[in-house]
């Protein structure tokens, strides 16, 4: 068996003789608790997990290769499809990377609007995590409640970008257009409502003895292992690492917002649940600050060779029409160089590595997505525990297969 499924890291080979008694169990790729097409080959001794061999690649579409054949602005819609639960963060990270290459400064209103969108997107991601995680454990009701709130976020996105999930709203140089007139009122109404909804989820789950017992002490990950295995985001903070890119290496004006970064030192599934719940409340506070202090002005940079002109201008001004034609037909060139831009997305540290050779198409785009690294820590969290805990742990690390396989 080992020839075909390989040897994992941080694992001693089973003792001679003992191996014959182990059973190999296949979980996935079509399994409701794997959140996509993840295949786990489990080596179990009775009901105790001995090894986990994740098999990935079922969703591999070669997005990095596709990017090399597209103009810079044509890559934006591809990024939505990677982590389809957190679309704005993907757009934001790619655009920040290209703007760094271009040396482009975005107006304050554009930056603040991006913060609102990134936080709404994070709430979207966390709401899905909470619903599906609770459903995996057996608490079916919460799923219906979180999807009710998520629907409102999707409606706001639809009003904003015309698309519910694949928004592509954040563009290189700003955002695609001014938000609709009722946008800020809808966001305000939503965040007025959300804190009590979070209390509602918490009432359903935090005191629930079954949920508590399924998560407490399960899937322990130490601080050292979290760092060594590349775990980032909420699972890393639940293991006691006090680090958040929004606070520590701020981008898009995050340094102007005050928020609390929740930390736990327990390192188990329960800690990851608590950290994410507090993070949702903090996101609401960030959005409130952004709405209260939203600066006046343009949402996109004054860069006619990079940012598409306003529709009205394009129809009335010759210059704008020429710029529009040039951007759409041959793109814009980007000075040669390489940049890495990391942001804190819903699942953890997302990074785009963009290499330019001075042409209108990226020479190389590499995406660093948190789930890819976090999946490596699965064995460290599940080893020596019961088979049923694997489902709880996979739910608690919140993976999306689109971003693992890319």
């Amino acid at each position: 068996m080992t020839e075909t499924i390989g040897t994992p890291i941080l694992a001693a080979p089973p003792a001679e003789g003992a191996k014959d008694q182990h059973m190999v169990l296949n979980m996935g790729p079509q399994h409701p608790a794997t959140h996509g097409v993840l295949r786990l080959v489990l080596e179990i001794d009775g009901e105790i997990v001995v090894h986990i061999y994740p098999e990935i690649g079922y969703l591999h579409t070669g997005i990095e290769k596709t990017c090399e054949a597209k103009h810079y602005q044509q890559v934006v819609p591809l990024t939505d499809r990677i982590n389809y639960l957190d679309p704005m963060s993907n757009n934001l990270c790619y655009c920040l990377a290209v703007e760094k290459l271009l040396g482009l400064e975005i107006p304050q209103k554009g930056q603040w609007l991006r913060v609102v969108l990134a936080e709404l997107s994070r709430l979207n991601s966390h709401l899905i995590w909470l619903g599906t995680h609770a459903m995996d454990i057996g608490a079916l009701t919460v799923f219906l409640y979180t999807f009710r709130e998520r629907e409102e976020i999707l409606r706001i996105f639809e009003g904003l970008a015309g698309q519910r999930m694949m928004t592509s709203y954040i563009r290189i140089g700003g955002v695609s257009m001014e938000p609709p007139l009722d946008f800020f009122d809808r966001v305000q109404a939503f965040i007025n409502l959300l804190p009590e909804k979070i209390d509602e989820y918490s009432n359903l789950l935090t005191g629930n003895p079954i949920f508590r017992n399924r998560l407490k002490g399960v899937g322990y990950l130490s601080r050292q292992d979290a760092i060594a295995l590349g775990v980032s985001g909420p699972p890393m903070r639940a293991s006691g690492v006090d680090f958040d890119l929004r606070r520590d290496i701020p981008y898009s004006s995050y340094e102007k917002f005050s928020f609390h970064v929740p930390i736990s030192t327990d390192g188990d599934c329960w800690a990851r649940y608590e950290v994410r719940l507090v993070e949702m409340r903090e996101s609401v506070k960030i959005i409130q600050q952004a709405l209260d202090g939203m600066p006046e002005g343009a949402v996109s940079a004054e860069a006619p060779k990079i940012v598409l002109p306003d529709r009205e201008k394009m129809k009335t001004q010759m210059e704008a029409l020429i710029h529009h034609f040039k951007i759409v037909s041959e793109g814009f060139t980007v000075p040669a160089g390489e940049v890495y831009q990391g942001i804190e997305a819903g699942h953890g540290a997302t990074g785009y590595y963009v290499v330019s050779d001075g042409s209108a198409k990226p020479y190389r785009v590499h995406m660093r997505y948190p789930s890819f690294a976090t999946l490596q820590a699965l064995e460290a969290m599940c080893k020596g525990r019961m088979l049923a805990d694997v489902v709880a742990v996979v739910g608690s690390i919140d993976i999306v297969l689109g971003e693992i396989d890319r």
């Binding site: 390989g6 040897t7 054949a69 760092i227 295995l229 980032s232 390489e338 890495y340 990391g342 660093r368």
Partner: protein
């Protein structure tokens, strides 16, 4: 250091960044290891001699750069050396990234595996092996990760076609 400024070449960067913890750690470990350096758009890139990459990574790890955030490659076909392997390393305490990189020749490219320093390099190196065909010496499980095991070729190489039938 000013983000708008560009420093290129080992001598210029050493002048501006002589006191930088990562540069100091690498120089203390082996002054020959650092062969080129660049400060561009607020990012520090240190080119390391291929055989010294793990020693340099250990040195920066001790200097506080504790988290390997990303590892990937770039194919500069048809230039020589052809492949570039980039390591993006984050420091949780110093709150900054650095980029280490090695340049590899096109004929059977090979570099020491980083898994001994950061176990998280495991999947990243499998991905680079799968999509670029770069071999990592000492990797515990060097198999394809994205593509099927019987796939021919390495898609992210520049001489691999983007469209059409294979």
């Amino acid at each position: 250091m000013n983000n708008d400024k560009t420093l290129s070449g080992r001598a210029e960067v050493l002048e501006g960044f002589g006191e930088h913890p990562a540069v100091k750690a690498i120089l203390a470990c082996d002054p020959e290891a650092l062969i080129d350096a660049r400060w561009d758009r607020g990012e520090l890139t240190l080119t390391i001699a291929t055989r010294e990459i793990c020693a340099a990574a250990r040195a920066v790890q001790t200097a506080g750069y504790d988290f390997l955030e990303d590892l990937t490659a770039v194919d500069w076909f048809p230039s020589s050396p052809r492949f570039q392997v980039s390591y993006h390393i984050l420091s949780h305490s110093l709150k900054e990234y650095i980029r280490l990189r090695v340049m590899l020749e096109g004929e059977s490219p090979s570099v020491e595996s980083m898994t001994a320093v950061w176990p998280s390099a495991n999947y990243y190196e499998r991905e680079v092996f799968d999509l670029f065909g770069i071999h990592f010496e000492g990797h515990p499980n060097e198999r394809r990760i994205m593509l099927p095991d019987d796939w021919e070729g390495h898609p992210l190489r520049k001489d691999y076609p983007v469209e059409g039938y294979r």
